[in-house]
Each structure stands twice: as structure tokens, then as C-alpha cells.
Amino acid sequence: MRYSAFRVIAEALTGHRGWTPVWRDPEPQADYDYIIIGGGGHGLATAYYLAKEFGQSRIAVLEKGYLGGGNVGRNTTIIRSNYLLDGNEPFYEFSMKLWEGLEQDFNYNAMVSQRGIINLIHSDAQRDAFTRRGNAMILNGADAELLDRDKVRAMYPWLNFDNARFPIKGALMQRRGGTVRHDAVAWGYARGADMRGVDLIQNCEVTGMRIEGGRILGVETTRGYIGARKVGVAVAGSSSKVMAHAGMRLPIESHVLQAFVSEGLKPFIDGVMTFGAGHFYVSQSDKGGLVFGGDIDGYNSYAQRGNLPVIEDVAEGGMALMPAIGRARLLRTWGGIMDMSMDGSPIIDRTPVDGLYFNGGWCYGGFKATPASGWCFAHLLARDEPHPTARAYRFDRFLRGLMIDEKGQGATPNLH
């Protein structure tokens, strides 16, 4: 069923009896050409683009829980393409362009809102660094704008501009950045994939991989063995667990990242904002809640909840930047499990096992990458060669000294 304004009116006049389930709930077949492990944003996008853009069929997505129940349902919904390095920026800008056409493409309202993102500047050195980043963005076809202090003040007069330690001196702005209704991204991709014949199989956890002679034959699941010509793994957060079935150790640690929503407030933040002197980022949802977050807790974790010290730290960052939120009450906090890679950048690559492909290591920047991640992974699965914008996301970059280290901090799993 195609959604349109006409359809909504027609259904309203006929008692809404014509709506049908958005996707099927099929039994797994004995074998497929492509199995995507992971029914989150990236896995569903991969299946969607495999079918739609690369003309492939006989595709299944295996999800251990329910569709979109992992990190695509647990993030702070920000999209942006404000990276510095050549390995990253073309990829994220490709993703941004896909976001811009996404709703028309998959005929689903994902509430893509290009409300603009600003990264605040608090020192002259930071202004230099952000100017350089802005230039890199422009060179790669993205938009970037340096705002002076007065322009930021005109946007958000109530920020703490004259903080003695961290005065606000301006901002780097990307007007095309913004937010997206995160669950709707998963639902839109799921529906689009299902309409093109992809089997979305839920409650189906992969418990093993059948590998013979260095080639993958299929996967063992809680719903039986399923054969496959090619298997793509897109399970960020659980990557090490799933790839252990293929005997692989990854350059990844799993960490918990917390996010927060305040009670509903009247509109006062109309874009996305990041604090440049501490780790704090915030936007306001359409329901009025402030959606914000900060650092990971900092220790290996598979628990989808964090501890209080980071909540205190994030709240301090918020109070330093915008004292006005001091009396707003925190409504909810939750945690998601991040694939923290060793250089803060993702991996989309083949593995030493023929027919087994990997997509992961998204750290805590995976949501904005969803469309390009799906597209590039589908490209790799269908054509056996990397998409031009994802060439740098290789496993062997650590061995070859070609890390994509946005922060310039060296090997540590605590980077973005």
C-alpha cells in the first residue's frame, strides 16, 4: 500500500478499515542469496537498498528481538555531516544527501527535520580548528558556516555567553544538519524492504555460523539452520559476540552510552547544539522534551543501562552551557550498547571468510550514518567491492597504519 494524503482522506471517510499491517511476518525459508544479521537501522537499510538499488532478491533479515529494538530506537536522533577527514566526510555527506531524499524514496514519514546544528566555540584555538573543519566540509560538498558571537546570541540569547572559563565565542553551523524520528527510519526501511520481497524474520537469534573450507554456508539460529550465499553482519553493539561465531576477534569494545529526556517544555531550542568545552549535546523534540547526552560510561558493558556518575557529568555540562534548564526535571534516561572501535571510525568490509561481510564499529555516531551505511554495505554485498565513499573503512587499516582518527588521539576505544 502506497501512503499519500489522498489515502489518508480516503481512509478517514471509510472508517480506517483499509489499513493493513506494514510488513509480513514470514517463516524463514531453507536458504537465501543474502542473509543480513541484525534488524536495526543499518541492517534494514542494507536489505532495502540491496533489493531496490542493486536489484537483488532472495534476501532475509534476521533479528534476535523485534525490528528496530536496538540502537536505532535508543539514540538522540541527530543527523549531520560535519567531519574533517577524507575517509569520513564524503561518506557522511553521502548519508546526508540520502536523508534529504529519504521520505520520498521509501514513501514513509520519517520526520526528517533539517533544523541546523551548531558546534559552539569557546577559544581562539577552537575557532581555528572549526574553521579548518568547515573548510573540509565545504571541499567535500557539504555546507558549513562560521557564526560569530553575535549571531549565536541572536539565536540563543539565554546561553551562558560570559562564563569565566568557557565563554562562547561563536559556532560552526551546518544548516542541513538536524534530527529525524529515529524509530520511523527503521519502520520505513522495514516496510520498503518487505514491499520488495525481503523476509523480515524476528525473534530469530543467530547462534552459530556454518563455515567449510573458508566459505560461509549459512547460519544456525534459534529458528533452525538457514543457508545463504552471502551473509552480512550489521549488529553494532553485539558485533564481537556475533563475529565470534566465525572465530574473529575485532578491534572493538562494547560500551554503554546514556541518553536523557527532560519533561516537556515550551519551544526554546529550535536546532541541535553541542557544547565545545565539555561533552554535552542537546536538541528539543517535537513533544517539547530536551533530548541530550554526553560521554560513554567508560568501561566495557553489555548492560543497556549506565551509572550515576555520568549522569552527573552530563548534567554539569548542561548547566554550564545553559543554566536556564536547571529547574527542568529529567524524565527518562536509558543506555545503549556501542561498538567502540579503536580509532572512532566504522568498519564496512569483507572478512577472511568468503561470503561473510561485516558492518560495525559505529561508536556512538551510527544513527546519522544509517542510509549510507545501508547503501555502502549493500554495494559491498552485491558487487564485492567497496562503495567509493566507504573505501577507508577497512579491517586492515590498523595493521597498515591508516587509521581514521578524527580526534588525533591514537589507539583507544573511547573516541567518537
Binding site: S238, S240, K241, R249, L250, P251, I252, E253, S254, G298, Y299, N300, S301, Y302, A303, N307, P309, M342, F398, L399, A411, P413
Partner: protein, 94 residues
Amino acid sequence: MIINHPILGPRDAQEFVYLGDASLMNRPDGMSDGIEAFHDYLYNRDNPAGAHRELWYHEQGDRSWLVVTRNTVTHEILKVELARDVASKAGRGK
């Protein structure tokens, strides 16, 4: 999280700095073991869901390194040892 320090007793995890998997104590010889072994040591991790042996440094305390065995699914701390004792049991150091 409360870490039960073998010498100082229960201490808040906030007093510590986290480093990662305790296998980081077993650094290969960069000259003789080869680049592959060192690459594996530096970048790759087991990253288990469940019991995980990991290094914590008591920066705000006695500056000792601890090997903490912690369940990464529940955050429950199962065992705390001085890294020094772990190393000497393994025949390392003096």
C-alpha cells in the same frame, strides 16, 4: 559501582581510571614477536558478554593497578586482585 580494593576496602569506581582488558598486561615483544602479534595485542579484543578481567587504576587513591573481574552484562564485580599479584603469579617481574 563499588570496587572492593584488596588493601583499602570498598571504594567508589569514580576514584579509578579504566584501562581495559587485563590481557593488556601480556604485551608481546615488539621486536621478536612480529608486527601481527603486536597489532593483535594493541587493537583486537575478546570483548566478552559476561565475566571480563579488566584493569583499573586507583588514581584518586593508592595508585595501584587492580585486576577486576566484572560481569559486563550485569556490572556485578566478581573478584578484585592487585595487578602486581596477578603478574607475579604468572612469573613476571621480581
